[in-house]
Symmetry: D2
Subunit: 275 residues, 4 copies
Amino acid sequence: MIIVIQCKDQVGLVAAISGALAKENINIISMREHVDKEENRFFMRVEIEQYSDAQNLEEKIRNVLPTDAIIKVDPSPEKKIIVLVTKEYHCLADILIRNHFKTLGASVQCVIGNHITLENICDRFDIPFHFISHEEKDKVAFEEELQNAIGAYNYDYLVLAKFMRILSPEFVTYFPTQIINIHHSFLPAFIGANPYRKAFERGVKLIGATAHFVTNDLDEGPIIAQQIIPVNHTFTASGMMKAGKEIETAVLARALQLVFDDRVFVYKNKTVVFE
Amino acid sequence: MIIVIQCKDQVGLVAAISGALAKENINIISMREHVDKEENRFFMRVEIEQYSDAQNLEEKIRNVLPTDAIIKVDPSPEKKIIVLVTKEYHCLADILIRNHFKTLGASVQCVIGNHITLENICDRFDIPFHFISHEEKDKVAFEEELQNAIGAYNYDYLVLAKFMRILSPEFVTYFPTQIINIHHSFLPAFIGANPYRKAFERGVKLIGATAHFVTNDLDEGPIIAQQIIPVNHTFTASGMMKAGKEIETAVLARALQLVFDDRVFVYKNKTVVFE
Amino acid sequence: MIIVIQCKDQVGLVAAISGALAKENINIISMREHVDKEENRFFMRVEIEQYSDAQNLEEKIRNVLPTDAIIKVDPSPEKKIIVLVTKEYHCLADILIRNHFKTLGASVQCVIGNHITLENICDRFDIPFHFISHEEKDKVAFEEELQNAIGAYNYDYLVLAKFMRILSPEFVTYFPTQIINIHHSFLPAFIGANPYRKAFERGVKLIGATAHFVTNDLDEGPIIAQQIIPVNHTFTASGMMKAGKEIETAVLARALQLVFDDRVFVYKNKTVVFE
Amino acid sequence: MIIVIQCKDQVGLVAAISGALAKENINIISMREHVDKEENRFFMRVEIEQYSDAQNLEEKIRNVLPTDAIIKVDPSPEKKIIVLVTKEYHCLADILIRNHFKTLGASVQCVIGNHITLENICDRFDIPFHFISHEEKDKVAFEEELQNAIGAYNYDYLVLAKFMRILSPEFVTYFPTQIINIHHSFLPAFIGANPYRKAFERGVKLIGATAHFVTNDLDEGPIIAQQIIPVNHTFTASGMMKAGKEIETAVLARALQLVFDDRVFVYKNKTVVFE
């Protein structure tokens, strides 16, 4: 069972929390905490042995913490997600495989594509696919259709698995810290479109991928995970793109695992990640 | 100020320790703990804001812990080390540079070499060098000379910076968890002599280096840090050796930093490293 | 179009080969060569612009090379493979996905499993699955059944995607340099069974995976690719196994890409890999 | 002996060059070539067995190549360098150590500092140190003093080993493709001042370093080598800076090794690096 806590920092928080757990005779399996000194902010993740009454425990912990504390005891152990895609298969297929074999740590409710391309692969895994074209309509209408499709399901997170449309601030605001995107560059290098072409032209020796929460500023949201791979002069821009797909898949998978495992905390524009 | 604790695990340890700190109104900067379930062993490292009375604090913490607990409050902030070398300069030079610019986290008391080769570089940094040849004497006599030279200094650790003599169990036993070695392979691959030659002959695609505490079993002590670098068919055995020196230097530097910063705990043949 | 050449080394080979290509007015896109000095062996991979008559070109090149030369001009651009599995899905699923989206660089003819577990995922991708149990029969009978199933297809390579049976020398000899295995450790560390358990017990700080050609010596065949990931004291043996699966998948995918792209040469127990 | 060639691409270049070498009965140890298709540019590096008459060989090769060809046969095997520094020791010390032990592949002629800080370490290695302050003078006067100091030595390259002054276009133009800089970020992320502070504020999960040739555009010159290390929420900006120094040292060392070994070709704003 997991407990996650975020609040203003003050002396004695660890003692207060661990004391409350000890009073219930709860065994701590692992405890991670971090204090952001600049922001005076306290973050904690505790893994405990199974305990029967989560609600009661949450109340006991709340009693010893500052009033602004955000506490989750036993957050839903299996998250529900909706995946948004365009045409590229690599991130989606990886998610579908893990979902199918029950190793994703979440269950895919449906996939929404602004192209029909990836319907077939969803069918093969019995996952509902909704085709919502962005063509011949304005962004407001397109996003309204997205919202309607999304609204028909329960979900904890929306995963943009190479979804190549920029979402409006209004849409993003509706899902605070719930939208996870994979960006095909080592942010903040090569923000925006065609990062591999830009990387090729700059002659970089490493390319990367970044998984982040989506906020109103394009490619500026809190970063969850980043990885890179070496490239050299033999790589064309499309060779970089091909190599990049491997790392995009790996970084998104890693970020999702961390989020679904309640290891990622967001405060302002940064994350605390207890790996 | 650092507090390190190791003891048998039981319910309530975190609460007990953090409670003791809170009672003294001590602010925790960071706290890391680990429970080894198989060994039922508890490890903790706490970083606190400066506190005037370390001895008093240690007693207060001891009072709330099992009797077998190993506790160090404010372990010597600057460790003293003695470096043993043979002919290769790379690890020693890196240590001397860091020592000279006060970024080693320890102070080098002296260097002992079984060859005279590295005396000159020690002279340049005003570090005493003792030449103790292993030739024309048996191991007992050689090690007695080493012991005598070592005994003239204060030290926390002996660092084998490419010291190419195998030490006897008697010698090793005299310095429990105090001898740190850099082995030029990715242990447990290529234990023993000529690991680069063996790696070349096996045709591996990665070579590595391992920093570990020395125990009676050759190359079998608790591992502190390991790193690798890619190699390929263009590498000869001596090319691997040359490339390997870079990683040996880096891994030993990293391991020393972790040890000197009191981040490494040893229990049986393994380490807990709070990076 | 690709040309691969392997022969005894002698002065003037590059001139002879590039001269033969120039005489046909063929444009070289890229050329990689390697001489193994210890073995006095020459390896070359040339990528040229499309040329109409592969057979004629092969003859022209053969005329300028030593008689022992192994030459392939335009080796089958899309390899055919048969995949052998047991129960673990991760490597197979990755191969099936790439096969389905035509990015594998090979086409999967069928999958053979000694357990029924992975039949369903093969069905979803319309790939024939053959269940050949190893139970209640001796190895000779088991391998005869394997041979019969394999023999019904065309194939360039057999891929052991976590196939957990040890194959007999007789079987292996039948497929020289055609069987590719993924071993779940950083060879030559932890040869044989239960490498993650052994890695856990040794307390290593990195775990790895190795893709290699299978020869008669268990886990001793020519290595194609290796990768590692860091682990630490928080990993149980099963945690290492879980983390290891990610790297197993990645390493096998990388090795297959290299092999299918005719970038891997084998001589004795080593590979030359023109990445 | 090394031969490096750069020219406009055309059919038959490899045949022409290797033919010229074969005619002299020269044994090729290794040959690397690359064609930049977008720029229609040919690059080659050949390693041959010792040959007595470099000048004659250069002429013979020149005869078979386009007139614009840049050819160097046996470029000075030990480069001469001048190192420019400010206050940070890590890159300089690494260079001095390698220089001292004759493993740098170049010889340090002198060190120039705009602060006096690093004079002492140069003295310890008997390397001339010139203190040229940038204070109380304009950039023109400062750079004139630099030029005068530099002009008193023979040199192949200027190495900016954490030299924290921006050089004028006039100065840079005077040393085309001769100035190598280490930039403390993963370019093009965090161009300009305080990259670690910017990285900290952005909350990145990796930091990097970039070695590049200096051109008129700040931090925009051809990249030679890049590396990264992972960071996380526990790193302060100054913690990132400290960790970054390790990678800065490693990347600069790697880049210098490649340049001194004649493995780096520059064309327009990119490099070809035959590793």
